[in-house]
Symmetry: C2
Subunit: 123 residues, 2 copies
Amino acid sequence: MQLSNTEEELMEHLWNLEKAYMSDLLEQFPDPRPAPTTIATLLKRMQEKGFVSYNQHGRSRQYFPLVAKTDYFGSHVRGLIKKFFNNSSAQFASFFTKETDLSAKELEELRAIIDKEIERKES
Amino acid sequence: MQLSNTEEELMEHLWNLEKAYMSDLLEQFPDPRPAPTTIATLLKRMQEKGFVSYNQHGRSRQYFPLVAKTDYFGSHVRGLIKKFFNNSSAQFASFFTKETDLSAKELEELRAIIDKEIERKES
DNA sequence: GAGGTTGCTCTACAAATGTAGAAAATTAAA
DNA sequence: TTTAATTTTCTACATTTGTAGAGCAACCTC
């Protein structure tokens, strides 16, 4: 099952913190903070969906992600590519570089990454 | 407002066809086809959300997208980048190349694209 | 040890989503 | 022209999402 939008936002915070108590998570939200019960509900649903677990640490729980950000994100992107780009990563990459307006520096950086990848692949 | 998942799928077909009658759209779906009323409902909602319009063409309507795929997709990706990569395209690109397991050929292709972009930028 | 604070579960409820039947209107087909 | 298929609107209903109060248990504080 998929995370909903709000759940995803919460997950982001959890990925950043790696481990967190309710209060830590609550703190992460910008000012008109959601009610603590809202966060609690979300965490519960996320547990049911298998994205989050916790360690009972004294009185309360220290939550942590069960799914790595890279995994989650990777499958997300693959989904997009499949849906919009006929499953062609290169087609996507092409679109991406053209459309997202990378700076010269970013482009250089990206090329370096790719070169490294190519090298890695060759060995 | 955003398209929901099913709406997005339908939109995909519409982008592919460019213009389409109900029946054309219905045909696009793999076998356990949704009921025609389902498609109709979706189209209606998509019109309300401003993603689709139509020309009354004789008895029925020829639907067409109001939003270009590249625009829709671009803002989608930008959203992801913002949410997951701290708004850094390069960070995203790096992740992308590392994680999506491009083939050697795709990597070469991608590098060519980037080189071209760099060139374009320099001029 | 009485009262506030925190974190949790349970319950609730409005809005959005996924799905489609009923019915009307139109048209194609026999 | 009677019948059958097509397209649309309306209505409906279960599920999921966003949001949070009520209430309870555990703790902290004086």
